[in-house]
Symmetry: C2
């Protein structure tokens, strides 16, 4: 706060702002719950229509906004185009849990890259004892066909590290060393979209989350009642552990990407699909010939004709 204000005034403002943020967050959660309720049947209906349209999801991905598209490498794009048959997003902790937790499920047809027919990644909204709150996840294993690992081994290593961690094997495992080496030597530029399945985020146990949520609620209640709150005290010393965690992350922005899929690509899928159709010059239900396509569009998308 401005130094012309006394610290007391600053404290009061700060706490009032925090109170407001708490109240806005409650409204946001309520709106997410309402949204889920109001759209549930519609998404089910949509899924039935989509299931009858060939290449619906690949075309949606082709028109994905930059925040998603930037992560889809040409090979990823080829995989999605040839074999993505369904996508679904679920706020799986509803009705009782946090509406910010999301599960994103990809379904694939037979393809030359991996054996999996379904790849589902779950993100849990969690809070830790240091006051951090956000999405955390677990690595998803992809059964690559021989020589076809799009992540060049990164995803397998992340999965192995996770298993080692669960088994309490400490910080000096073979997999951790290899993963660090490979990340340092090759970097993460141009990493495959499929590395996204490796994201973990902070490690927060169910118990820690419960305790942290309870503590936060008590803090908020105290702040609301104008009682002194032990603010930020433990939020400052969360460096060491977290930094280590993020060093092993092969797709550090996976949580943002998940939100973007859930809040943009998923609800906007029909819009993106229709855009793709228009760019293909086949949007008209009367199937006009290409001559009648807008010239600018034709120039911008000369080779985007979709195979039948």
């Amino acid at each position: 706060m401005s130094s012309t204000e006394s610290p007391d005034a600053a404290t009061v403002f700060y706490e009032q702002l925090e109170n407001l943020e708490d109240e806005f967050e409650e409204v946001e959660l309520e709106l997410l719950r309402q949204q889920a309720k109001l759209t549930k049947d519609l998404y089910a209906k949509r899924a039935k229509v989509i299931a009858q349209i060939p290449s619906f999801w690949p075309l949606v991905f082709e028109q994905a906004p930059p925040d998603i598209d930037e992560y889809v490498q040409p090979t990823d794009s080829a995989v999605l185009l040839s074999s993505l048959v369904d996508l679904s997003v679920e706020r799986f902790e509803l009705p009782d849990g946090d509406p910010r937790s999301i599960a994103i499920k990809f379904e694939f047809s037979e393809n030359e890259y991996f054996e999996n027919k379904v790849l589902e990644k779950k993100f849990w909204w969690r809070r830790n004892k240091d006051g951090w709150a956000g999405l955390v996840s677990e690595p998803v294993k992809i059964n690559w066909k021989p020589g076809k690992d799009l992540t060049s081994g990164l995803l397998d290593l992340v999965y192995q590290v996770w298993e080692d961690d669960k088994a309490g094997k400490g910080d000096d495992t073979e997999a951790k060393k290899k993963l660090k080496e490979q990340m340092e030597s090759t970097g993460l530029d141009g990493v495959s979209f499929f590395a996204w399945f490796g994201f973990r985020g902070l490690s927060i146990s169910e118990e820690e989350n419960k305790a942290a949520v309870k503590e936060e609620q008590e803090k908020r209640q105290a702040r609301k009642e104008g009682k002194p709150v032990d603010e930020d005290m433990d939020e400052e010393d969360d460096d060491d552990e977290d930094d280590d965690e993020y060093e092993m992350e092969i797709f550090p922005t996976a949580d943002d990407l998940a939100v973007c899929i859930a809040e943009d690509l998923w609800p906007g899928a029909i819009k993106y699909f229709l855009t793709a159709q228009e760019l293909d010059g086949q949007s008209d239900i009367s199937f006009e010939s290409d001559e009648e396509m807008d010239e600018d569009e034709a120039a911008a998308q000369p080779s985007k004709k979709r195979k039948a």
Copy 2:
């Protein structure tokens, strides 16, 4: 649709998708109404707290997301920093009208650039007979102090053109010629944020909007009942007029920016303000000295100390 499908199947899918989009749009509008209802008192409460915090809105703008920040030139930034005292966003057609219509009001203290204490820009959600729907607006006049026009005359010309258009003066007015010339000679790169107040968008009268909304509702009803719909017929020939309209636009993406202010900056203001405070190293209510500030933050923001 894929050419392996018969046109009839494609038509059916297309209409089903359009029906779904109609239904999703209804839900979206309902959620916007709910949001407005649930947040109304909170925003009023927030305004009271904010009014007591010096430089709240300038600091929010300093931390604005890239979609907004890219339009704020250094001089604009200086104006906002020195004299923006309040910002408010209202969905002014509620409760009965369209919740997508937004009014954005800036309040300023005395400054060396313009006389206005309030600059309010309204965006109406409107539909035209060609099937287009979106935000339209009217130019807002800024009373620049001598030699201080941040738009180098563009905004005044846009305002004059608008008055000429209202008076039915045709396409050959002095102001139109000048505006075209100036836009062609200087381009719009690096144009001031304040040019945003000049945006008009498509010209859609109240009557045209009403007729178009009614027609659209009838179309949707027919589609829902599976009756043949005269789709897209008139959506193809809207080129000439609209293109002319956009040629005279000095801030063509003003509608997107308005939405970004309304849906990101405005609801996220406390978050952005607290980020600014943190970057200033003064976030702690105990006013710790700078030594205790996180080193990365200090390195990233060496000169961002805010004046008292």
